[in-house]
């Protein structure tokens, strides 16, 4: 009997070894270990054997079955592994096909980016950010800023007035602010010295060409304390210019005139596109027009007449002094990014918007 068991075992083992796919192997299993197969039947018939044969036959058949089960399992695992590899190898994709769309990338408008960049520089220098109304009164926009009634900026050719504007020189008449400077006076009315603020915002002037739009953005600066000097203005603007235009920049002050500062200066930054007005390829620099300097803003020491307007709020011109400056956000952005036409900022063409940030 044990010979027969050995025979089944070796026959089955050979069949297992010969099986080349999992389906054949399953057939082998059914043939040798299935319900109707000889070996399991043999095991089930052990009880009917003579007692002296029962132990040996039972043991041998059991060992054979276990051995075959193990062999089947090993072989099955081998074959299924091979088959998976084959399937995977056939499951080929064209890796050069396009990807799923990336999540849409939105950008801040260049004006906002530039505004934030400038704000952050001055926040780092200890300034707070103040705001004020865009629809203003003649008082804050002109009178309080020491602007004489004859100053041409008050004319309807230079300022948008709000209806009804019966008298352009009435301090209460409303207009669209032509600069962010009115917030100087408003801020000083709200906060006693020392005051260190910048004021970003929209301003309006009736003008339209490649370098003028009827609406644009400015950032005003105001620092009033007991001991602010013109040299402090220079240092502050130097720090600003270097942060925005690069560490190698220098600034130059040129005397100028503004009604609300005295002394007044215009501030130039050394050109970042050339050396001494000549570009790397030997041309006259188009950015600074060969002068090596680019005008970026107007500034000065707060005029005593402006402080006089807010004397009752703690600004005695004999006791406090300060500087103020104002710059165009678009102008800074145009210089920094080489934008030729101001109107591009307001066309909102996504092909423009996508380029920055």
């Amino acid at each position: 009997m044990t010979e027969r068991i050995d025979g089944i075992r070796s026959e089955a083992q050979a069949a297992i070894d010969a099986a080349t796919d999992t389906q054949t192997l399953e057939e082998v299993r059914i043939r040798y270990l299935g319900r109707k197969a000889e070996l399991p039947n043999l095991l089930r018939g052990v009880a009917q054997l003579p007692p002296q044969e029962r132990a040996t036959t039972g043991k041998a058949a059991n060992a054979a079955r276990q051995a075959l089960e193990q062999a089947l399992e090993r072989r099955a695992s081998d074959l299924s592994g091979q088959e998976l590899e084959q399937r995977l190898a056939q499951d080929r994709i064209d890796i050069s096909l396009p990807a799923d769309p990336r999540p849409a990338i939105g950008r801040l408008h260049l004006i906002t980016q530039t505004r934030r960049e400038i704000e952050d520089v001055f926040i780092g220098l200890g300034f707070n950010v103040a705001e004020g109304p865009e629809v203003e009164r003649v008082y804050y926009n002109f009178d309080a800023l020491n602007t004489p009634v004859t100053h041409p900026s008050r004319l309807t050719t230079d300022t948008f007035y709000v209806r009804p504007a019966a008298d352009l020189f009435d301090p209460q008449t409303m207009l669209l602010r032509v600069h962010t400077s009115p917030v100087q006076v408003r801020a000083m009315q709200e906060q006693p010295p020392p005051i260190y603020i910048i004021v970003p915002g929209r301003v309006y002037r009736p003008d339209s060409d490649a370098t003028h739009t009827p609406q644009f953005h400015q950032i005003e600066g105001l620092a009033v304390d007991t001991d602010i000097t013109l040299a402090d203005l220079k240092g502050t603007l130097l720090a600003f210019a270097r942060a925005i235009f690069g560490e190698e920049r220098e600034v130059r002050l040129r005397p100028h005139f503004f009604p609300f500062t005295e002394p007044s200066v215009e501030v130039d930054v050394s050109c970042f596109n050339c050396v001494d007005g000549v570009t790397a390829d030997g041309q006259r620099c188009p950015l600074c027009k060969g002068t090596a300097w680019i005008e970026i803003l107007g500034a000065g020491m707060v005029d005593p007449n402006v402080l006089e307007q807010v004397r009752e709020y703690g600004y005695d011109p004999e006791k406090v002094q300060g500087f103020a400056f104002g710059m165009g956000i678009e102008r800074i952005a145009m210089l920094k990014h080489g934008i030729p036409d101001l109107r591009l900022f307001y066309e909102n063409d996504v092909r423009f918007l996508e380029q920055f940030g």
Binding site: A104, L125, G126, V135, Y196, K234, T236
Partner: protein, 800 residues
């Protein structure tokens, strides 16, 4: 202000090239707009010639052929078209190769068969006059042929084009600029051209003049009279200077008034004395309803604040603004009354504004001239009238008002100079700089007492003004760069400012591009948006009808940006704008300017790909998703309720509620409104008032990790009219306080299985207790409570 260098050099001639002078002026406060060249392009080939012979051109009646000695060994044969050319004249000749004022180079050309070896020049060809009727005949004695023309005529000069700031009307004259050039460069300054006056004080009896207006309107009125005046052209040198300064020469008397104005800054007016009716002039304010025809032929309606000059027959000119035709100087004039007056700046400004009449004179007076300038101009004019018009100056001068107030003395403290600038300027240096500017100085223990010259009277009134003077000349570019020694100031954004930044960032993070639109809109916008009875801030002087108001919504800007981009073929757009809108409050009050944010979505939510050829198009729920992304980012609780904005699709329109208050709208733009902007696809949008958001608060810790959440799903069948929000609200109320979250994740309609008019909502619920792990029994009991509430309140039932 155009300053011909040739003219400036008569008074101050800095030994530096023009670009160095321009830079020096710029760095001391005189802005140089540009440097121009006036006259011929080069001095070569322009010489004095002597006409040896003139004969008629054989083939042209109007041309003559001249033999002209131009200094060489052989004379040149030159064809000339002028009638006045004659043998024996000394003339100006351009030889071939000469560069003319327009930049062209003169070539040898054949004129009707005869080659012309140059050109005999007329004034206009040299840009030294406007006369083209005849050639220039040089009448100086002893001019040798071949002499460079530049030695004889001002045929070429550089011109500084200056931008004179409004505080420096003294620099609106050549001599004023010469003073500035002197102070800026140290080059010598000649005595002023009015330092010698041939006139005399005392009565002038040929005319009676009265000033009847308040003296502040006419601080000074001066007049002188001339007889034997011969009207004619001005000499070439004077015409050349006027031309270079941008004025057209007219006749000697008129040219003199212009020349003197350009030199001294003071406008003058020349009357034909014989046409001054009654021999009287009265300066007075106009009567109500009075009118006058000005030189430009227009009838001007005057008001009682305007000042005029009248003669015996009524008004002849508007003071400081424009003269009348009646007493104008003409070819027949032989007696001239020269007037130089000082007028009140703001009053002249108002008059010229009211009349819409700006003249060279009014633009000067409104900047504020000094009374002294009137007599300075009279002195120069008198000299020129005698010299150039053969006139005789009558003795006497009318001078009503006289010079201005005594010079002001201002203390300039050493300590204040250093305190304001951040660097001391030695007192000695201050004195030197101020004296160069013609200020007087006197030593005091703490600084200088400084006397202000009359011509700076209006501009320099305070110590700060003196500090500016010394700083600009000493050089503000020399200042050190220091930082303020800030006293306790720390900079940062306010909570609201940080929230605004976070809002914009939350939108870019969702793939929206920020736009910046115009604050201006046209009145037509409200109509296009179907908005009725919208009040907007209106401009008095808009640049165009479509910019006549201020916006009350950001939607117009977004639709306009969408239209533009759509026109360029971009059909999928995700845009937002953040900025103010302007809402009128009441008459005379400033409008409210709340800070809004608005978005617009249209087209596919992402581009089609080979895996998803037909992506969804943005709609109400896409915009709602963006709003949700924005407000979740800002940690603001919000709700929607049905809305009724007229520009929205009536079935897809919502009001955004924050804290129960309307704070904006959300919806799909009404197709007819979208079409107004050529947008045919669905356009979804929202606008939110960021100022309506609660102040951001500091988050406090909540334990969400110690005890786990229990999650389960629930499907509820409710009648169709019940909204998801109602279901959620009912569940939330019933589930308090253990229900942490509830969300709809599926919506299902099937008349057969759910019954007609019903909808099934699948919801996911999470329960959590802060102090224990919830048991299944606890959750089951809450679930029963919730189901019961749904049944009771909404007629809902749980779907098996």
């Amino acid at each position: 202000m155009r300053v011909p260098l040739e003219w400036l050099h008569e008074y101050c001639a800095p030994q530096m090239d023009i670009s160095a002078l321009a830079e020096r002026l710029a760095l001391t406060g005189t802005e140089v707009e540009r440097v121009e060249h006036h006259g011929v392009g080069a001095l070569e080939h322009l010489v004095v010639g002597k006409v040896l012979e003139r004969r008629r051109h054989p083939d042209a009646d109007r041309l003559s052929v001249c033999m002209v000695d131009v200094g060489g060994s052989t004379p040149s044969e030159i064809v000339c078209g002028a009638d006045n050319v004659a043998a024996g004249q000394t003339v100006a000749v351009a030889r071939p190769g000469a560069v003319m004022p327009d930049g062209s180079r003169l070539e040898k050309v054949k004129l009707r068969g005869i080659e012309s070896g140059g050109m005999i020049l007329a004034e206009d060809e040299l840009a030294i006059g406007t006369d083209h009727a005849g050639i220039i005949v040089l009448d100086q004695e002893g001019l040798a042929p071949g002499t460079p023309l530049a030695e004889v005529l001002p045929i070429s000069t550089e011109v500084l084009v200056l931008e004179i700031t409004p505080n420096r009307p003294d620099c609106l004259g050549i001599y004023g600029v010469a003073r500035e050039a002197h102070a800026a460069t140290g080059a010598a300054l000649t005595a002023p051209p009015w330092s010698e006056d041939s006139g005399s004080a005392g009565e002038l009896d040929v005319v009676t003049i009265r000033v009847d207006c308040p003296p502040e309107l006419c601080p000074r009125f001066t007049a002188r009279a001339f007889t034997d005046v011969k009207i004619g052209p001005s000499p070439v040198w004077l015409k050349a200077r006027l031309m270079a300064a941008g004025q057209r020469p007219i006749s000697n008397v008129v040219d003199i008034t212009n020349y003197v104005m350009l030199l001294t800054g003071q406008p003058l007016h020349a009357f034909d004395l014989d046409r001054v009716a009654g021999g009287t002039l009265t300066v007075r304010t106009a009567e109500d309803g009075e009118s006058l025809e000005t030189l430009d032929g227009q009838n001007r309606q005057l008001d009682p604040q305007m000042v005029l000059i009248a003669d015996g027959e009524g008004p002849t000119s508007i003071a400081g603004t424009m003269g009348g035709a009646r007493s104008e100087v003409g070819p027949e004039t032989t007696r001239v009354l020269m007037e130089a007056a000082n007028w009140n700046g703001p009053n002249i400004h108002r008059t010229s504004l009211k009349l819409g009449l700006r003249s060279e004179a009014s633009s000067r007076f409104e900047k504020g001239l000094q009374p002294e300038q009137a007599m300075e101009a009279q002195a120069v004019a008198a000299q020129l009238m005698v010299e150039l018009c053969g006139a005789r100056l009558l003795p006497g001068t009318i001078d009503i008002g006289g010079p201005g107030p005594e010079p002001q003395t201002i203390r300039l403290r050493d300590a204040r100079v250093a305190g304001l600038l951040g660097i001391p300027i030695p007192r000695e240096r201050c004195r030197e700089l101020l004296q160069a500017l013609e200020f007087t100085t006197a030593e005091r223990s703490d600084g200088l007492d400084v006397g202000v010259p009359a011509f700076r009277r209006a501009d320099v009134t305070r110590e700060a003004d003196l500090i500016e003077e010394v700083a600009r000349l000493d050089g503000v570019d020399k200042l050190p760069a220091t930082l303020p020694s800030r006293h306790g100031a720390a900079g940062r954004l306010t909570a609201t400012q940080r929230q605004r930044r976070a809002a914009a960032d939350a939108l870019t993070a969702q793939g929206l591009h920020e736009i910046v639109g115009w604050s201006f809109v046209g009145a037509a916008l409200a109509e296009r948006l179907r908005l009725r009875d919208i009040e907007a801030v209106e401009l008095e002087n808009p640049m165009s009808a479509d910019q006549s108001q201020l916006r009350t919504t950001l939607l117009g800007s977004l639709l306009e940006a969408a239209r533009r981009n759509r026109a360029h073929g971009v059909s999928a757009l995700r845009l937002f704008e953040a900025g103010a809108v302007y809402l009128p409050t009441g008459p005379g009050e400033l409008p409210r300017e709340p800070h809004h944010v608005a978005t617009l979505l249209t087209g596919r939510v992402h581009p089609p790909t080979w895996r998803e050829p037909e992506p969804r198009a943005a709609d109400f729920f896409a915009a709602k998703g963006v709003l949700s992304g924005l407000l979740e980012r800002l940690r603001v609780d919000w709700e929607l309720e049905s809305g009724h904005e007229p520009f929205l699709h009536p079935g897809r329109s919502a009001t955004i509620l924050i804290g129960g208050q309307a704070a904006g709208w959300l919806g799909e733009i009404h197709p007819l409104v979208a079409q107004e902007w050529d947008l045919n696809a669905t356009v979804a949008a929202f606008e939110l008032d960021l100022d309506a958001l609660p102040e951001p608060r500091t988050p406090l810790y909540e334990d969400l990790t110690s005890f786990p959440e229990v999650r389960e799903d629930l499907a509820v069948i409710v009648p169709d009219h019940v909204t998801a929000a109602q279901v959620i609200t009912t569940i939330r109320q019933a589930g308090e306080p253990l229900l942490a979250r509830v969300e709809v994740f599926d919506v299902y309609r099937d008349a057969e299985r759910l019954g007609e008019g019903n909808v099934s909502l699948a919801l996911s619920l999470s329960y959590r207790a802060p102090d224990r792990t919830l048991t299944d029994e606890e959750v089951a009991s809450w679930r029963e409570t919730i189901v019961a509430a749904l049944e009771r309140e909404l007629g809902g039932r749980v779907r098996a």
